[in-house]
Symmetry: C2
């Protein structure tokens, strides 16, 4: 009984995710589902990435949080359109929430859409939203054991951004070990080492992203 | 339909949590449910706390992880009894998992039991396990906006440990703001600022905890 309910929820999510996917494809829009633990730097990465991309591309953002509009206000200051989803307790976004949020965005005026998921290294990895790919951020302050303990997120992601590398001298964290463990789970991962605070490594990530958007057109 | 299923799950969890609670009370055992984001320092705090307490009290640990026995192996090296729960995907512990884990521990030989929850700032706050109280850790690397965005965990916790304060000079995080925002959600919170890396602040936490265990006897 319990299993059949869960299955129905996942099937319904999958169906709506495919509807979202079709809409995004029609508009030739690149859509990225951005995931991480709380405080790994999703919103900071978006701020920096938008600043770097917005001269060349039209960017939009869907912000997911349990409550508050704090992140949407931060993103709004970059000047790009943003819609906030409040999940009201739920620990991840699902495809239906995203479909609702899309009503507030003009997709015909957009090349690149970021969906910032709820801060959670577990559940968001299970839910397709209709994105082209998932990208995850891991802060070096979280430690190099995270691929061992939260493998699904590493498995489902196309990109891993190892963030806060400016903190490496002050943390017991080996970024080579993160990469080795992550690639063992998912050999296709593209990995960037960045610091949103110092800006280190962000150019390489932005260049890669520019190519992804261009390939879409 | 969906709502009634969720309600049944929560009722079943509550009933088993009360059974656990009765067993703990009979043994005059202090039980702490330790929660945080991934990588905020739960296992490191336990290692340090056990080292400091084990001369005076008999300590035990239940380790909760989605998979792996990495944390239980770390705790095992301190010499105290430890049982690992693997949730197999679930993003939080529930009372039934803990009841199963208790079969592996001799509660008559214990004064203090830590239950280390899955790393997740959202869902663990919703599930009672039978503990005396919940304690949460927030790493300063996660930022001072976390009480605004994940209020339930701050609301449900009796203790907030602000960890990694050695990183404060290198993070855009104001610990006074964390305290102000956390106390607004939960004025009863007892707050400690600590660094598991340098040891700063850990004595105050251990002294407080000693008193809690003594009051139980």
């Amino acid at each position: 009984m319990k299993i059949s309910v869960v299955k129905n929820i996942m099937e319904a999510n999958q169906r709506i995710a495919e509807e979202n996917r079709r809409r995004f494809s029609e508009k030739k829009l690149l859509v990225i589902n951005l995931m991480s633990s709380p405080g790994a730097g999703k919103t900071s990465l978006l701020e920096k990435t938008i600043q770097s991309m917005k001269a060349d591309f039209r960017v939009g953002v869907v912000e997911g949080d349990i409550q508050s509009t704090y992140d949407a206000e931060r993103i709004g200051q970059t000047g790009v359109p943003v819609v906030q989803i409040n999940t009201g307790g739920a620990c991840h976004l699902d495809s239906n929430m995203v479909q609702e949020a899309l009503k507030g965005l003009d997709l015909t005026q957009m090349d690149l859409l970021f969906i910032e998921n709820v801060g959670n290294l577990v559940c968001p990895a299970e839910f397709k939203l209709g994105e082209d790919f998932k990208a995850m951020i891991l802060s070096v302050a979280e430690g190099d054991d995270k691929p061992l303990k939260y493998p699904l997120m590493f498995h489902e992601s196309r990109v891993l951004l190892i963030n806060k590398i400016d903190l490496l001298p002050f943390c017991d964290c080996d970024p080579d070990l993160i990469e080795e463990r992550a690639l063992k789970i998912n050999p296709q991962l593209t990995i960037f080492r960045v610091s949103c605070r110092t800006g280190e490594g962000l150019d390489r990530w932005a260049d890669w992203l520019r190519n992804q958007v261009k390939q879409r057109k």
